[in-house]
């Protein structure tokens, strides 16, 4: 049976889709049959980040409405074996997602995959609710600033109360924190919250910290999940996230400012 992982945040623009793409690609690279679903109906982005926007014929809503079957809508990634994308519809809105339709699609995908990654839309309304409802695990993506942290806190409350696991009194959704766009130099100046502060406020397991990096934007523009750019800091940070999620112990990196040779010499 597949594990369903929702990537969520409450706030928009914090890196959910980037994280979904990188996380799904990382799981597939580790040998797991993985599908990543774009729940952001009407604001389809995942296909761009994954670089498959020209190959979208049918989408998630078509499958829910019975206008296409799953195998027609799923797009196989050309770079990583075992990675598939189920794109969102750009011409519809969130009301096109039905509870029963989402459940049927997830159940069908669970037969053929090891991991189902659900890229949640921003907000806490229908689309976000359906994306998290069936989840076993959650990656809560947070930027180091107060409004993002508060919205993540709200989402954590919903994960603990408005999901299938909560309503059926099963073991709760496993919550993981992913801090993105982290700039240690700005934390040092007091312009950003530190990882310790965020961890203290949200009090959940820290899965990884992704540094603020031009590599993320470059990869997005090129339609490549940033985890595949393994020479970059952000790519390596996502690689750590996937490894830790799969149970490996790795020390946290990118928490402090990069020091040049001079800095190192001076500080000894």
């Amino acid at each position: 049976m597949a594990r369903i992982v929702v990537v969520t945040s409450g706030k928009g623009g914090v890196g959910k889709t980037t994280t979904s793409a990188a996380f799904a690609a990382g799981l597939a690279k580790a040998g797991y049959r993985t599908v990543v679903i774009d729940f952001d109906v009407g604001l389809r982005n995942l296909d761009l980040i994954m670089g498959c926007e020209r190959r979208v014929v049918y989408d998630f809503v078509n499958v829910i409405n019975g206008e296409a079957n799953l195998s027609q809508a799923l797009i196989r990634d050309k770079r990583v074996d075992g990675l598939e994308i189920l794109p969102a519809s750009q011409t519809r809105d969130k009301d096109a997602l039905t509870f029963d339709g989402v459940q049927l699609v997830l159940e069908a995908l669970a037969q053929t995959h090891d991991y189902i990654v659900c890229d949640s839309p921003a907000g806490i309304e229908r689309g976000a609710h359906l994306a998290m409802y069936f989840a076993d695990d959650a990656l809560v993506v947070t930027n180091p600033e107060v409004s993002s942290v508060r919205d993540s806190d709200r989402v954590l409350g919903l994960l603990a109360s408005k999901t299938r696991r909560a309503e059926q009194d099963e073991a709760p959704v496993t919550e993981h924190l992913v801090v993105t766009r982290y700039a240690p130099s700005r934390v040092g100046k007091g312009e950003m919250l530190s990882v310790e502060d965020i961890h203290d406020i949200l009090s959940i397991d820290l899965l990884g910290v992704i540094p603020e990096s031009p590599a993320v934007l470059n990869a997005s523009n090129a339609g490549i999940p940033v985890i595949l750019e393994d020479k970059t800091d952000a790519g390596q940070a996502y690689d750590d996230v996937v490894a830790r999620y799969l149970g490996e112990t790795r020390e946290h990196r990118f928490l402090s400012e990069k020091k040049g040779l001079f800095g190192r010499l001076l500080k000894g």
Partner: protein, 222 residues
């Protein structure tokens, strides 16, 4: 959504005011009582029909179970409605098919059992609201900014209080709030409230107790 279908209520309880007449029995012989009652009923026929009655007995009077039973049956045959007894042994009343009416006259305080505090072990997240009705609230986790915890009694938070905490919301002046790190947006006891920017900044982040002292809110370090 299937899981959200609310069950429609099968009943509701409403308070209604009705006069309960008390039949204070002064004689141990039911025939004597009923005979005098007949004389009274004859003066106002129909007035007493269906009247709910609670039977009490003078403390010096030893009324037997059979006498109580005969009295009850006699009242019913006269279209009166004995609904229960007061200040009589429960087993005696039960033999006559009657229950004991509580809180009548208020001279006998009912035994109060302490109500266990409501205990929450998960973090209280932004947007969540928890109310411990009629009791204390114990939160063994942080309370986030944007969350609200309320109790009729005390509130104990074994973690940071960053949201709102309202103790004694039904007007309990003795209620207090205890927390390990006070970073609250708002604290209130019995309706007296204080916002974070009205609090002593030196107490911010430290363990503190909030209480009402002479009608004013006092925040003291622990």
């Amino acid at each position: 959504m299937a899981a959200h279908l609310g069950d429609s209520a099968a009943f509701e309880i409403k308070g209604r005011m009705a006069t309960l007449s008390v039949l204070h029995v002064l004689h141990a012989d039911p025939d004597q009582v009923l005979a005098q009652l007949d004389a009274r009923l004859a003066q106002a026929p129909g007035f007493f029909t269906g009247m709910p009655l609670v039977i009490t007995v003078s403390s010096e009077l030893a009324l037997s179970a059979t006498a109580l039973q005969a009295l009850t049956e006699g009242l019913r045959s006269r279209d009166l409605l004995p609904v229960g007894v007061s200040d009589l042994p429960a087993d005696l009343a039960a033999q006559a098919g009657l229950g004991t009416v509580r809180n009548l006259g208020g001279e006998r305080a009912t035994e109060t059992r302490p109500v266990a505090a409501r205990v929450v072990t998960q973090p209280v997240r932004s947007g969540q609201q928890i109310y411990a009705r009629g009791t204390d609230l114990v939160v063994a986790a942080p309370v986030s900014a944007g969350a609200e915890v309320m109790a009729d009694g005390h509130i104990h938070i074994y973690g940071s209080l960053r949201g709102r905490a309202l103790a004694g919301v039904q007007g309990g002046q003795d209620a207090r709030i205890f927390c390990q790190a006070l970073e609250a947006e708002l604290v209130a006891v019995a309706g007296e409230y204080r916002l974070s920017d009205q609090m002593d900044p030196s107490l911010r982040g430290s363990a503190a107790m909030v209480s009402l002292q002479g009608g004013a809110l006092a925040v003291t370090p622990l």
